[in-house]
Point group: C3
């Protein structure tokens, strides 16, 4: 397992944790934990692989599914003993978001897509697992709340694509891009940074 593959497994685990914690907050049974952990953990990469026409990454390597199921089991039995679960997952999610924006863009570039498409693929890899998780659990998708969530994944993906086009080698481009995305998301968590919402004129029809 090389370092990029290690990051890939780390990203899957981190997102699986977010799914299992949503299941815990919704008081689902063990199957619901496994379903949400798996959807959140591998949903983004699955979307990316289907769209660019690659074999879906977890279908030929069952380790990814195994990680999601282990995470679901662990959270099911141990989460009652963890305080402030939501806070922990926000930070884990921020790491996954930043890493997956760049990793997803890297995989898309290697598949030969255009730069703008690679940025969108990075964003999808980092966010679509969470969108699927929220839809299935009946919660409003976090990607559409005010926080700088999708934006951080876009920054990470766009920075990686820009560096790569400029000839910067991946081992340098990756940490810088991921740190930029992580820093933006950390600011949003700690300081409440947000994008301006659309403001309608008062009293108008919708």
């Amino acid at each position: 397992m090389n370092s990029f593959q290690f990051l890939d497994y780390l990203g899957v685990a981190v997102f699986a944790i977010s799914g299992a914690l949503v299941a815990s907050r919704k008081e689902f049974d063990l199957i619901g934990f496994a379903l949400l952990a798996t959807l959140a953990g591998i949903g983004g990469g699955t979307t990316r692989d289907l769209l660019i026409g690659r074999p879906v990454f977890w279908v030929n390597e069952q380790g990814y599914l195994a990680v999601c199921l282990i995470v679901a089991l662990a959270i099911y039995f141990y989460s009652p003993f963890i305080g402030s679960r939501y806070r922990l997952v926000l930070w884990a999610d921020a790491i996954g978001l930043a890493a997956y924006g760049a990793l997803g863009a890297d995989i898309a570039l290697k598949a030969g897509v255009d730069p703008l498409v690679a940025v969108v693929m990075g964003m999808m890899t980092a966010t679509f697992g969470g969108i699927a998780r929220d839809l299935i659990a009946g919660e409003p998708p976090v990607a559409l709340r005010h926080e700088i969530h999708v934006t951080a994944s876009l920054l990470s993906a766009a920075a990686f694509v820009a560096f790569t086009l400029a000839g910067v080698p991946p081992l340098i481009a990756f940490p810088i891009a991921a740190l930029a995305g992580f820093g933006l998301r950390a600011g949003a968590i700690l300081r409440g940074w947000s994008l301006p919402r659309y403001r309608p004129r008062p009293g108008r029809e919708t």
Copy 2:
């Protein structure tokens, strides 16, 4: 048409019935009946085929779509004359669930995936049509309610994979696996069997 293909059509019809009955309970128009019957009928197999990279099963054989549309029409015109619709569909759904868990796993194994992946593919074939149906209809997914729904499809798929790995021929493995899944689901319907729900500690933050 061999016996496995007959089972395949039967599964599509049974799930299409569940979709049309949800449309009936929601008082949709005829198009809504057709849409929900088709989503429920072919959604699970479509997900499986996309993920393992097979041609989608109904795209090159329009009989599957025709079955969904005929079911939608029939339920639209005749369901007012059926008593206790929901009870009937629970049993039809249980048969489909058990059969499709094993059938989906069989198709995935033949495509060469790992055993754990084949079990998940069987579960998806048996449940994702219903999840899509519930999301579109705006109902909470039945797969996430307490009943032993997903679990029965997992049992059917896992039993089939285990038998196949042990060298048991499909014509023996299939009925045993499907019966095991069906028996578990029947127990849940008749006796209210359920998995333990996650219990949070009282008074804690979410």
Copy 3:
């Protein structure tokens, strides 16, 4: 760019407008505008391409994504100055719906699928972007409300397939099929045409 490709871009733009206007009514931030415009703009064609096994149309031609993002930006900044946004989008959507029903069926027929499958692919191309948009935004899918929405796309797709099977050349079949679908939808908007809803017997159990 030939005339069919021009229509294709026009369809993407028109559906992207509908997505951005939903974001505006929901008061999302700029990222939410971009996400909904893109989902609505390319969602239907993406579904079609995945199902029939073609390369997804926007992955190798980034102009489609660019159109969605430009539409999102424009609506974000200028929609406060437009009166009766919803009325405008209904008409734009009707044009897109009618054109995409026939265009989607054309692409599916060229990929070699059966006629009934081609009609369903045309309908999906014309409607699934809107379904995804509504699910993500948490609104009841417009495709399942009473209006003749899905039906107009089916008419457009079915007319195109029927003409093509009868040997009518595409340049004649396309405008007639699209006009038929548009006329049906226009009648639904102007006169409130609708399909009969399912009527349950009073007092019965659901």
